[in-house]
């Protein structure tokens, strides 16, 4: 029984991290029609800020609060001073500019913290394992699973049940109309960017104790995030959740059944899904 419980639970935990990584990207595309290649760099910056704050403050709790907020500020600033000027351009322009931002942020991280990986200590309260008979699972991974689920719920409620969420959704469909109603659409977009940055930064901060931090983690996160968004469908919150869980489960199960092909199967699954449903599970054309 453990042989099945473990990979499923592990897959769900992985999937929730992937969801956190991808939902910001999906929000930006779905709500703002913006392809953000700097999303992986937000994840990277979030992880490194978590590392630095935890070293300075000696507290992971402080780090996991401050790091995503700082990345949110970064997202907001990037949109206010740069990206809002290009938001109406083609997706190619979005990709080019945000790819450049990604490179700059990557090199900044290496310049400040060096090229070698660093370790982020799991907080004492979350160290160790939970054990039920032969079944063991790390406490921190359970924490990630639970916290990610709560955040997913909160985000869903924000987008679907609040005025802000309604305005964001309306602006993505009819920006001019919303603007004519007296809403500052530019500010709305900035907040959307900040929210996307916050999600990515939080994903990075939560991943840091699991994997440490190293300069290449941003690119890898971006690849997974795009895979999740493609599976789930661009612009779909539910799609990002289902996509993340799908990829997490595929990876976890395959690492048990066919370890050497686990990583390959992620992208093979994405390819098969695209053939069957070109817009993803919940995407719109």
């Amino acid at each position: 029984m453990n042989a099945y419980i473990f990979p499923v639970l592990n897959g769900l935990g992985l999937g929730m991290i992937y969801f956190l990584m991808a939902v910001g990207l999906s929000i930006l595309f779905g709500l703002l029609n913006f392809v953000n290649f700097a999303h992986g760099a937000f994840f990277l910056v979030g992880a490194y800020l978590c590392y630095q704050v935890s070293v300075l403050a000696g507290s992971f709790t402080v780090a996991i609060i401050l790091a995503p907020l700082a990345v949110a500020l970064l997202g907001w600033a990037l949109n206010k001073f740069l990206l809002n000027r290009v938001i109406t351009m083609s997706h190619s322009a979005h990709i080019l500019i945000t790819f450049g931002i990604m490179l700059v942020l990557n090199e900044l991280v290496i310049t400040i913290w060096g090229p070698l990986p660093q370790s982020v200590q799991t907080p004492a309260a979350l160290q160790g394992i939970v054990q039920f008979g032969d079944f063991v699972y790390p406490k921190y991974r359970l924490f990630v699973l639970v916290l990610s689920s709560l955040i997913a719920l909160a985000l869903y409620l924000l987008i679907v049940r609040t005025k802000f969420g309604a305005l964001l959704r309306a602006a993505s469909e009819q920006g001019e109309t919303v603007s004519l109603l007296g809403v500052n659409v530019g500010r709305l977009y900035s907040i959307g960017f900040a929210l996307g940055g916050w999600m990515a930064g939080l994903g990075g901060a939560m991943a840091a104790p699991l994997r440490g931090v190293d300069p290449s983690m941003g690119m890898e996160a971006l690849a997974i995030a795009f895979a999740v968004v493609i599976v789930g469908g661009l612009g779909s919150f539910g799609g990002a959740l289902v996509g993340g869980l799908f990829i997490g489960l595929v990876q976890s199960l395959m690492s048990m059944l066919w370890p050497e092909g686990a990583r390959l199967m992620i992208y093979a699954a994405v390819a098969v899904l695209l053939i069957v449903r070109p817009n993803g599970l919940f995407g719109r054309a």
Binding site: G114, P115, S119, Q121, Q131, L210, G212, S255, P259
Partner: protein
């Protein structure tokens, strides 16, 4: 500013713009010997390249003092691409007539560069890990400082078995590529010879970053030892995942191939206790060669030297010792002098085996200390075993022309 000054300023900046890193000028009175390091100063391997560059510069500066020539060292950036590295090396050979090369950041690059240097009749010393460098792909020009996987496993797995005779069940997690396969083959052999049971193996791709699934298989096998057969960041991530799953409660964890200090820094002092690592260098070695190196390193650095810097310094020493013995900078004469050469290296007395150009030197098994037992920030491990193990020449596959 006069026109000539402007032109000179631009000319001196061009090598830097072109990806060649030139350190400071050394003594002017002796003739210069061009030495180039094909390293990754950008791209995924840059973390290693910058350290190897530092070691090469340090070695060139120090060993030039006792040579009739000044080793005029510069790094060539291969941008983590063996193809680009080879092109730049060929350019250095054909245009700048360089015949001495030192260092590498990955085995694929080293093998490719070695072939070109051999064609030109030059000398190339590197720290590649692939067995074939002094095996099937050996050549007259290439020399290797690290040990092969045979020696790594013999001097890490075997001593661990002797220290823990009750630990019979071994589970391996292996990077699925040539290096990992070589480590696995040697590990299986040693386990069989020692009466231990290999209870399972999980392969993983070299791009893998998430290892929790592999650990599930390992946990299910209930091993006494978890043996991680890979190198670099992936080794760290397996260890982190293993610790998070509480594997250290019931199993010994060993990584036979590790790069030492930089990996221990990345893992963190809180995670080191009781872990075993095989290693090619540790800064605490009490050999005269290492003490000299530490003094030099301390002139410019506050921290302790990691393996990558030390190995680069060692590679430069080999070239310098060869030039000294040959009393010549003719590559053929230097190669002949290096074959069979014995000298006081970082690990003690080191000897270059003539038949395959492999340096015969110690390999170490290290055990992680509890954080409370550390004397300083870099005092992560104790060396619990050391020794030399090398395949007999006829078994290496090297047929040197």
């Amino acid at each position: 500013m006069k026109r000539r000054q402007v032109i000179q300023a631009i000319a001196s900046a061009l090598p830097i713009a072109g990806g060649i890193y030139s350190p400071g000028v050394i003594a002017q009175s002796k003739p210069k010997l061009a030495v180039r390091g094909p390293l990754s100063m950008s791209g995924p391997f840059a973390s290693v390249g910058t350290l190897v560059h530092e070691g090469n510069v340090l070695g060139a500066e120090f060993f030039s003092r006792s040579l009739p020539v000044t080793m005029d060292y510069a790094t060539i950036d291969d941008q983590s691409d063996p193809g680009k590295g080879v092109r730049k090396v060929v350019e250095a050979i054909e245009v700048d007539k360089v015949r001495f090369f030192s260092g590498t950041t990955n085995s694929a690059s080293a093998l490719a560069v070695g072939k070109e240097v051999y064609k030109a009749g030059g000398v190339y010393v590197n720290q590649a890990g692939a067995d074939s460098v002094t095996g099937a792909d050996c050549n007259k020009s290439t020399f290797r400082w690290p040990v092969a996987t045979f020696g790594c496993v013999e001097q890490s797995v075997r001593p661990l078995i002797k220290m823990n005779p009750q630990a019979k069940r071994w589970y391996t997690i292996t990077g699925q590529y040539v290096f990992g396969e070589a480590l696995l083959a040697n590990t299986k052999r040693v386990l069989a010879e020692s009466g231990c049971e290999h209870v399972g193996n999980s392969y993983h791709s070299i791009a893998e970053r998430e290892f929790s699934g592999y650990l599930a298989s390992a946990l299910a096998a209930k091993p006494d030892v978890l043996c991680i057969l890979n190198f670099g960041n992936q080794t760290l991530e397996v260890i982190r995942a293993a610790l998070s799953f509480g594997m250290s409660r019931n199993a010994i964890i060993i990584a036979p191939w590790s790069t030492g200090l930089d990996q221990f820094d990345a893992l963190g002092a809180d995670n080191m206790a009781g872990l075993y690592f095989g290693g090619l260098y540790w800064h605490d070695l009490k050999t005269p060669g290492n003490q000299q190196f530490l003094r030099l390193y301390a002139e410019k650095n506050k921290n302790k030297p990691p393996y990558a810097v030390a190995s680069a310094y060692a590679a430069m020493q080999m070239i310098a010792e060869g030039i000294k013995k040959a009393n010549s900078v003719d590559p053929a004469a230097v190669i002949k002098a290096m074959e069979g050469l014995e000298y006081e290296g970082l690990t003690g007395k080191e000897r270059i085996r003539a038949g395959d150009h492999q340096v015969l030197r110690d390999f170490y098994l290290m055990k992680g200390k509890p954080k409370s037992a550390m004397r300083d920030a870099a005092d992560y491990v104790d060396v619990v075993s050391s020794g030399q193990s090398f395949l007999p020449l006829e078994q290496t596959g090297c047929r040197m022309a």
